[in-house]
Amino acid sequence: MVRTARVGGLVGLAGAFGIVVAMLAGETSASMGVPTVFVLVSLSLVVGLSTAASP
């Protein structure tokens, strides 16, 4: 249970990080809005979180 909570917390932390980064970058981006930046950051998070075992 503790391990699951810890892993869930890390994943949640990564998600929160992505949302904040997307909002900050999206507001400063002239051509891309927050939604597009959020989608791209989400892609990075999904791929990044899925590659733990790869050297």
Partner: protein, 193 residues
């Protein structure tokens, strides 16, 4: 990586080592983001707003291609290289610098083996977005997420890191399909947004 970094964090301070790995991942993502973002800004200066059209066409197309390969629906040879992050860095650089360098190398995303074709779309989108801040956001999120995934795997293991690696390896095909399906959804979202 889990099998390598796992035993090493038992040698020094566990939290310091894992924090350095995450910092390395963030630094690697940030570094490649600055380079690709700068190149993208140069490309935008050269072709102007036409870059937005290029982005809307090329990135979803690349995502669909990568998704079909990752889902196993397109039987073509995957684009990848054999380099892995050197296992002897903690010996040659020192314990903590080596762990940081591992994170940095993996955070770059494109200097080591490419496990999913969808990964290639991350630097491609960072380049074609034509904006430095957005490029840094995209690649830094990747670097941080990849390092956090290692931290999560190490944190969830007791001391049997090889077993954790085996468990992850058993799920590689499932993860690959998950990433492929996510790529399809994201391609659709980019076109819609």
């Amino acid at each position: 990586m889990v099998a390598q970094i796992g035993p090493l964090v038992q040698v020094g301070r566990r939290k310091t080592a894992l924090a350095l790995h995450v910092l390395g991942g963030i630094a690697g993502g940030l570094a490649i983001g600055v380079v690709l973002g700068f190149l993208g800004v140069l490309l935008r200066a050269a072709i102007g707003d036409a870059l937005d059209t290029v982005f809307i066409v090329v990135v979803p197309a690349a995502l669909i291609y990568a998704a079909l390969v990752d889902l196993g629906l397109l039987p073509v040879r995957s684009l990848t290289w054999v380099r892995q992050t050197p296992g002897d860095w903690p010996c040659s650089m020192g314990h903590y610098p080596g762990i940081f360098a591992w994170g940095f190398d993996l955070g770059l995303g494109i200097t080591t083996r490419i496990p999913y074709q969808t990964l290639l779309v991350v630097p491609l989108s960072a380049f074609l977005v034509g904006d430095l801040g957005t490029a840094v956001a995209i690649t830094t999120a990747y670097g941080a997420a990849r390092a956090l995934a290692v931290v999560a795997a190490v944190a969830s293991a007791t001391e049997d890191y090889a077993a954790v690696c085996d468990a992850i390896s058993d799920r590689v095909l499932t993860l690959k399909k998950l990433v492929g399906a996510s790529a399809l959804v994201i391609a659709a979202l980019i076109v819609i947004s």
